[in-house]
């Protein structure tokens, strides 16, 4: 026994498990042979296979982090009203497949009764891409769970209805690294001051050459401070990106006051119509106002209101702005246009207006 304990268990490097074992039987049977889909109502999709089989999907908003209570609660409902299978989307929305049309209403009702929203399909505002934030990450400038929760409260009706011109994919990121990715709207931390260095810690904690190498603008140099090896930041060069902080936590970038929120719009990853587009800065300097970030929420809602009113069907936010032009976007949303909107990063010239195409 003692011997066995000393010999640790070798991992089974099974990797990514086979999904077919967990798949709903109708999905399995018709795998690769689907014919078309329809939108039954917000939050409910109907897919029809070439075999004629039908599959309904009920899309449920959750808080992403689930405990045993929620898991059991939802699994109970799925077992009772659906077919014992479930999947999650890349946004952390739960999708409950159910083969029998007659079960859908009861399922929807049970889920609604349990306090979970049904929606996020088609031209709704989907669940916000969620990152770790203060709950778990080591570098966050803000929280993710809180931002997502407070925004989803505000956008609840847009999740449960399909009234936008096209899908709206919102993302959020709790530092400039942007694990949440690009979005139709992205609500991201933006640092505004160079890191403050805790020189006492640098030599213990940080591999100095690799920190120096991380800085995108070569603003960091090794230096002796108080007789000990540390680092120095050229504050004129520093763009306050925070990239030095993960490899060297003594380069404190977060700050209760100067860590701000910025809002970006028009990111688009699909290839539908236009090619994929990066999101673009529209607002910054927004206070990191926990616990409910009302200033950021107000801007997001304003942008969505303009989009909802003005865009044509199937125009994503980026498509819409391409058509109406940036001058009108800033006019409609009443956001200020500043020198910071003009790119000055590498390749900035590709973002300038090199034409006489002007909007009046």
């Amino acid at each position: 026994m003692a011997e066995e304990k000393a010999k640790p268990r070798m991992p089974i490097e099974s990797g990514c498990p086979d999904g077919f074992q967990y798949m709903h039987p109708t999905m399995l049977k018709n795998y690769g042979n689907w014919d078309y889909h329809e939108h039954v109502r917000p939050g409910v999709l109907k897919h029809v296979a070439k075999s004629g089989d039908e599959l309904y999907t009920v899309k449920v908003g959750t808080q992403r982090q689930l405990g045993p209570y929620e898991i059991n609660l939802l699994c109970d409902i799925i077992d009772q009203y659906a077919d014992g299978h479930v999947r999650f989307t890349l946004r952390g929305t739960m999708e409950i497949p159910v083969a029998d049309a007659s079960k859908v209403d009861a399922l929807v009702e049970a889920i609604t009764d349990a306090g979970y929203p049904i929606g996020g399909t088609a031209n709704s505002v989907t669940f916000i891409s969620h990152t770790q934030g203060w709950l778990h990450c080591d570098i966050p400038g803000t929280d993710a769970s809180g931002v997502v929760k407070s925004m989803m409260d505000e956008l609840y009706d847009e999740f449960t209805h399909e009234e936008m011109p096209n899908r709206v994919h919102i993302t959020t990121s709790c530092c400039q690294i942007n694990c949440g990715g690009q979005g139709d709207i992205a609500i991201n931390v933006q640092h505004t001051k160079p890191p403050k260095i805790n020189h006492d810690l640098v030599s213990n904690v940080c591999e100095r050459p690799s920190v120096v190498a991380r800085c995108p603008v070569a603003a960091i140099r090794p230096a002796m401070v108080n007789g000990r090896p540390s680092l120095e930041v050229d504050e004129k060069k520093c763009i306050c990106c925070g990239a030095c902080f993960p490899p060297c936590p003594p380069m404190q970038i977060n700050d209760a006051e100067h860590t701000k929120i910025a809002i970006w719009v028009g990111g688009k990853n699909s290839n539908a119509r236009s090619k994929p587009m990066f999101h673009k800065l529209v607002a910054a300097g927004i206070p990191n106002n926990a616990p409910r970030w009302p200033e950021a929420a107000a801007i997001v809602k304003k942008i969505l209101a303009c989009y909802k009113e003005d865009a044509k069907d199937w125009e994503r936010i980026g498509d819409w702005i391409e058509r109406i032009g940036w001058p009108r976007f800033f006019e409609m949303t009443e956001l200020p246009f500043t020198r910071f909107h003009i790119d000055n990063w590498r390749g900035a010239r590709h973002t300038l207006n090199a034409s006489a195409h002007i909007r009046f």
């Binding site: 640790p8 070798m10 991992p11 089974i12 099974s14 990797g15 990514c16 498990p17 999904g19 074992q21 967990y22 999905m27 018709n30 795998y31 690769g32 078309y36 889909h37 959750t62 808080q63 992403r64 982090q65 689930l66 405990g67 045993p68 209570y69 059991n72 609660l73 799925i78 299978h85 479930v86 999650f88 989307t89 890349l90 999708e95 349990a114 306090g115 929203p117 203060w134 080591d138 929280d143 769970s145 929760k149 505000e154 400039q176 690294i177 990715g181 690799s210 190498a213 991380r214 990106c241 990239a243 990853n269 699909s270 290839n271 090619k275 994929p276 990066f278 616990p291 044509k312 390749g347």
Partner: protein, 428 residues
């Protein structure tokens, strides 16, 4: 939010009986986040804290973050036996104030492609985690992992051993191949041109060594989308993006199409479909049938999205491969770039070739990438043409939005290179 029908079976439910020993910290900020209609994570955390002192302190630390607007976790090193990655260790910087949650690690576990579960398996995973960890699971992380959030150092191995026995393995963290993602695709979506489940598993499971023992220049992500809608954001968010497409003509069910036109009207069809095609490849004929100029169609998916009943991908399916997508660090955001315009994925050999391509790319990058340099950054540094040469892929005009505009290039090898093209043309 209206009063729940059954408060015991509701997102807002809080058990009456508190089993944890530590009293709750005051959490006025977090309490604000219990308001509003969306299910509250705070209520979820409190529910767990009714059972667990760790979660009581976790709530305390989180409230402290809300108060001071600063984070208090720091990293460290932690792993399970035999592996070098897959866990994000977290040690509290305010452990003296919140000692019970001073260790709060996350295990990244790979789900099945497209995140399918039976409810049984969900309950089983939840039970195991409840036994060894906080009970809190994120479905899923942005890279696709199931994130088991909140374990003490000494519980990590036990939890892993338990779930590893019934079929689950750690994902990636650190400079390694990461957990992959695939869309639901063939599972239910008529747009799909790929067997996403198979491709996902073949690609990532071939690199388990590179995932579990981080030794690459930096992270490397695979994402698989069954069509150009790219529901996996693969062009932006993965180093190796596989996107389903087709090479022959799209299918048009003219009867369904005419029904649609009749129902919605010609003006609507013009405004929403014909005029939205990026290459003007569509014509609405006078008899209400649709004409597709398949040579001009770039498979953007828009028209298929609008009328899925009438329009579908062709039969000659395959994938476009784009390499090098990623976020900002350290040269600015990069989208993936077309490296294989079309890869047939019918036979076993086809699938093997795809895996070999991934090997070729990872090998070349492992050798030529700088420390902390993503594959896309390397391509940007050395140039796409050199990268293609390095991985043995022929150039193709589909790889560029347009040919070079700058005459700053040395071309004394022009004749040689032109000859290659002519040979390939001859070879067909």
């Amino acid at each position: 939010m209206s009063t729940p029908k059954n408060p015991e079976k509701h997102a807002s439910y809080l058990p009456k009986e508190k089993k944890s020993k530590k009293p709750f910290h005051d959490t006025p900020n977090l309490d604000e986040l219990e308001k509003g209609p969306w299910p509250s994570f705070v209520t979820g955390l409190k529910r767990l804290a009714m059972e667990s002192d760790m979660m009581v302190d976790l709530l305390g630390q989180l409230e402290h973050s809300y108060n001071t607007r600063l984070g208090y976790w720091k990293g460290g090193t932690l792993s399970v036996f035999g592996y070098g990655g897959g866990i994000i260790p977290r040690f509290s910087e305010v452990g003296d104030m919140f000692p019970e949650s001073k260790e709060f690690h996350t295990l990244r576990v790979q789900p099945a492609p497209a995140n399918h579960y039976s409810t049984d398996m969900l309950r089983q995973l939840s039970n195991s985690w409840n036994k060894y960890g906080s009970g809190l699971i994120a479905f899923h992380g942005q890279t696709g992992n199931i994130m088991f959030i909140g374990a003490k150092s000494d519980q990590v191995q036990h939890f892993f051993d338990e779930i590893n026995e019934y079929g689950w393995d750690l994902g990636g963290a650190g400079p390694c191949v990461r957990t992959a993602m695939a869309c639901v695709g063939s599972g239910r979506c008529e747009m799909s041109n790929l067997d996403e489940q198979r491709i996902h598993r073949e690609l990532v499971n071939n690199f388990m060594d590179d995932m579990h023992r981080p030794a690459l220049p930096y992270k490397f992500k695979f994402k698989v989308s069954g069509c150009a809608n790219d529901c996996m954001n693969s062009i932006q968010r993965s180093d190796f993006s596989v996107i389903g497409t087709w090479r022959d003509d799209m299918k048009v069910d003219q009867e369904e199409w005419k029904k649609y036109v009749a129902e919605k009207g010609r003006q609507h069809v013009h405004d929403n479909i014909i005029s939205r095609c990026p290459t003007s490849a569509l014509t609405l004929n006078d008899d209400d049938t649709l004409e597709v100029n398949n040579k001009d169609c770039v498979r953007c998916m828009h028209c298929l999205n609008v009328v899925p009943k009438a329009l579908s991908p062709g039969d000659d399916k395959g994938a476009t491969i784009l390499i090098g997508g990623k976020r900002t660090l350290k040269i600015g955001d990069l989208f993936g770039t077309v490296v294989i315009p079309f890869k047939k994925l019918d036979t076993d050999e086809d699938h093997e070739e795809l895996v070999e391509l991934a090997e070729e790319i990872i090998d070349f990058w492992a050798e030529n990438g700088l420390e902390h340099e993503r594959c896309g950054e390397m391509i940007d540094r050395i140039g796409l043409a050199n990268f293609l040469e390095g991985i043995g892929v022929d150039v193709d005009p589909n790889m560029v939005a347009h040919p070079r505009t700058s005459n700053y290039v040395r071309m004394d090898k022009w004749d040689e290179e032109a000859a290659k093209w002519e040979e390939r043309k001859k070879a067909g």
